[in-house]
């Protein structure tokens, strides 16, 4: 999770999208989650990011109670949409190293500093490379599900809402369409992308068929590794 780099326009855009349908970063009351993200911004979001701006002004109005808002401040990677990483704060580390360059007091110390600095930089680069590689290593699958109703009178819009209301970590719903199967009955064909470690088709089947009023059965129409 995370918003990318919140000090850049790209990160602010992610934040803006995220807040379009939410009043707060987490839950329904202002909390330390909002404080954490608020503090990470360099300034007021621009007017074209209307949702981020709305949220910013709202959280600003709580500045007196900032310390007493509920919850615990967590690192930025704990907030925001799934599938995005937090890269805020990569810049300040570089700035500190620049400061070290300006101190030019003792020749020998400087040499030692350069060596340790070099090692630090190499380690940082290796760590970032590892972090950047990580998403590619998460095994994902694209699944196409067929959800069948009881009869032709079943409200397919409600059925789709019920299916989409299933929220799991590692599950992202995609496009859907209604396909006729005969006798006026339509089945809902809906796509989703799952992280193999986190979500299985058995689990999905259990959750979907739990909507007994609408769903008669569910089948996997297609299953592809991404």
């Amino acid at each position: 999770m995370g918003f990318g780099d919140l000090k850049t326009p790209a990160g602010l855009k992610v934040l803006n999208e995220f807040l379009a349908d939410k009043s707060y970063i987490e839950g329904y009351v202002p909390s330390q989650a909002d404080v954490a993200v608020f503090d990470a911004l360099s300034g007021v979001p621009s007017a074209d990011l209307c949702h981020a701006l709305r949220w910013y002004n709202h959280i600003k109005s709580y500045h007196k109670e900032k310390g007493s808002l509920p919850g615990v401040k967590k690192p930025l990677s704990q907030y925001g949409p799934a599938g995005v990483e937090d890269t805020t704060g990569a810049a300040p580390a570089a700035a500190d190293e620049d400061d070290d360059d300006d101190i030019d007091l003792f020749g020998s110390d400087e040499e030692e500093d350069e060596e340790t600095k070099k090692i630090k930089e190499e380690r940082l680069a290796a760590y970032n490379a590892k972090k950047a590689k990580k998403p590619a290593l998460i095994a994902k699958s694209s699944i196409l599900l067929d959800v069948k109703p009881w009869d032709d009178e079943t409200d397919m819009a409600k059925l789709e809402e019920c299916v989409r209301s299933i929220q799991l970590d590692g599950l992202v719903w995609g496009q859907s369409k209604l396909l006729p199967v005969g006798y006026g009955i339509k089945k809902l064909q809906i796509a989703c992308v799952v992280e193999d470690d986190k979500v299985g088709t058995d689990q999905l089947e259990e959750l979907i068929t739990a909507f007994e009023d609408y769903v008669q059965s569910m089948d996997v129409a297609a299953f592809n590794k991404i």
Binding site: W55, E161, S165
Partner: protein, 182 residues
């Protein structure tokens, strides 16, 4: 079933929910008046209080929560404006009028978390009660078309102590149609 009696029952249920929200220990006994069956509260100390808004404002003062009517003169005016909007435009509106209301409300809420801006007031409570029957019927696409209304509605229905007599409306937190499509 007479449609008018449906409306009175809703008004009395709203007042009862409001009492619960305010933490008022002793529920009041309400009656109705006139052909339109407006809610009425007989006050021991003075004349009867008539009308949803009048009674609601009285309950708020009784519970010593005047901030729910607005903290400043400007805020109080905005709160009154929305409460009046609820009674005069929202109640008993047609489907077409309902869509206009949703469109206007969506535009209004673009830069606001609550109807009065940054503070929760009676305006949010009464508009939530009044608009619930419209929002509960919206399809997924419509909920995303009126995204600000949906955001505000989901917030209010989760506000501690507000939701009593109304069933929760499912709001998806992951959007299906990305913003480019509207």
């Amino acid at each position: 079933m007479c449609p008018v009696s449906g409306v009175i029952k809703m008004a009395l249920r709203e007042l009862s929910s409001l009492e619960k929200f305010l933490g008022l220990k002793k529920p009041n006994k309400y009656s109705t008046q006139g052909g339109k069956k407006v809610p009425l509260l007989q006050n021991n100390n003075g004349p009867a209080l008539i009308g949803l808004v009048t009674i609601a404002s009285h309950l708020i003062r009784e519970a010593k929560r005047p901030e729910l009517l607005g903290d400043s003169a400007e805020q109080r005016a905005v709160v009154q404006q929305w409460i009046e909007h609820r009674i005069t435009r929202l109640d008993n509106c047609s489907k077409e009028e309902g869509n206009v209301i949703l469109k206007d409300l969506n535009q209004y809420l673009k830069d606001k978390v609550y109807l009065a801006g940054n503070v929760f007031t009676l305006a949010d409570i009464l508009m939530y009660y009044g608009i619930h029957h419209i929002v509960v019927e919206l399809a997924v696409q419509e909920k995303e078309r009126y995204l600000n209304v949906t955001r505000w509605f989901d917030h209010i229905q989760h506000y501690p102590g507000v939701r009593h007599h109304l069933p929760p409306v499912v709001v998806l937190r992951n959007r299906v149609y990305p913003s480019g499509h509207h």
